[in-house]
Amino acid sequence: MEGTRHWRNVVVLWLIASLIMTPIVIFVFGPGLPPGNGSVEASGQVTDNTVLLATATPVALAVLVYLAYVCWAFRERTPEVILDGPAIRGNSSVQFWWLVVTTTLVLFLAGYGTVRLLADGAGGGQGPNPIAVPSAPGGGKPLVVQVIAQQWQFNYRFPGYGGVETNGIELPENTLVQFNVTSLDVIHSFWAYELGVKADANPGVNNVAYVTTKGPLLFHVRCAELCGVWHGYMFNQGLVVPKTQFAAWIARQEQLYAPATKTLPPYSKTYFPQPLRRGG
C-alpha cells in the first residue's frame, strides 16, 4: 500500500514535470537548435533534433524525478539508527513496463529516423550511390557541385558549367544542389554548417550529399576532420544568392578561370593525381 502511494506520487510528479518541460523544449528551445534554417534539409534537421530532444525530455525527467523523490521520501529521519533497506527481489510489473516503454521508444526513433533519412537524405552524405534523392523545387535536375578538398583548402567544380573550378562558392536560391564530395590527398570533411551538410571527403571516394537552398544566405564552410597542421585554417564562406546573380557569378568564374580549366583533368567523380616526383 505504501509502495503504491510512492509510485503514484512519482508518476504524478513526472507527468506534471513532463507536461511543463516538453512544450518548453519544443516551442522555446526547439527553434534555436542547430543547424538553423539555411536550407530545407537544415530545417528538417532542426525538426529532427527537436523531436529527439522532446522524446528524451520525459525520459530524463523520469530519472530525475525518481531520484529526487526517493532522496526526499526515503531520507533517514533518525540518523542515529542506520538500517539497510529491504532486499530487492525483482518486480515483474516494472520489468514488463520498462521493456514495453523502452522498446516502443526505440522502435519509434528507428522508424522516424528511417522516414526522415529517406525524405531528406543524410547531411553526412550517402556515399557514391545515394538512395534518397530529394525532389528539386519545380522539378528538373539538381545543380551538381563537386567539392574538392586538399590540404588545406576547399575548391569547387561545376561540371554543368564547363567543368570550371573555383576557390569560392555561390549557390542559387530555391535549388536542389548535389554535392559530390571528394579529396585529393587525406581525409577531410566538408562542413557547410548552415546548409546542414557535414560530409566526409575521402580520397578516391565520391560522397554525395543533397541540399535544397532557400533564400539568400551567408554560410560557413569548415573542415571537420583533423587533416594536418593547417586544419584549423581550412575554412571559407559561401553565399546563396538569387538565380540571376548566380548566373552572373558563374559566368565570371568561367571567364576568370578559363586558363586553369584548360589544364584540369576531365570532370570525374574522383581523382587520382599522378605519382609525385618527389613525394615519398
Partner: protein, 221 residues
Amino acid sequence: MSAVGKRILWSTLVAAIVCVAIALYIGLYLVNVPGSAAAVSTSSGTRLYLATVPAAALNDAHPTWVSYYAVNANAQDWRHVTTYVLPAKTLVHVTIYNYDSPSALRNNFFGQSSGTTGGVITLDGQTTKGINPNNASHVFSIPQIGLVIPLQGISATAKNPCSNAPCSLSNNHTTTTFTFRTPAKGLYRWQCFVPCAAGYIAGFGGPMQTVGYMDGFIKVV
C-alpha cells in the same frame, strides 16, 4: 634539524625547482614567436622579396627541407623566416626567386594565378596568367584572400643549380613578380600547394607541416 624537518625541506626544495622548471617551459613556449621580415617601403612602392630553395641552409635544423626565405632585392641577406609583415590596404610588389626544380601540382587549378592586380604575374619578365602545372615548383598562396601564385621550376638540365640556401642570382633560378592589394589588418595564413616535401608521405609532410618552411603567416598591420 630532525629527520622529518630535513625531509620537509628537501621535498619543498624539489617541488619549488619543478615548479620553476614548468613555469620556465611554459613561459619560453609563450614568448617563442617565429621571426618575421617586413616589406620594404621604396619610392616605387612597398616591396617584398622572397626566395625558395630546394634545401635549407646547411646549418639549419632541417638542412634537407625545401623552404622559403626572405631576401633583399639582389637575393642577398637571407633570413629564414616565413612571417611577412605588410601594411594594410596597400599595393605590395612581390618578387620571388625560385631556385628549385618542378614537382608538379596535385590540383592543376593552382597553376593559374589569381588575386593579383590584373590577374597576372610576370615570369622572367614575361606577363602571364599562369604556368604549365607540370612545371610548378612551388605555390605562394593566401587562401583567405584568394591569392595564388604558381612558381615555375628551373630546368632539370640547369647547369648551375643551387642546392642549399643561401643562393645567389648567378645560380639558375626563375623570377616571378606580382602585385596585390593587402587586406585589412590581421593575420593571414599562406602556404605552398605543391606536394614538394621530398621523402614524406604524399609529399606533404615535414616542411609542408612545419611553420617556417613552406608555410607561414602574412601579418598585415
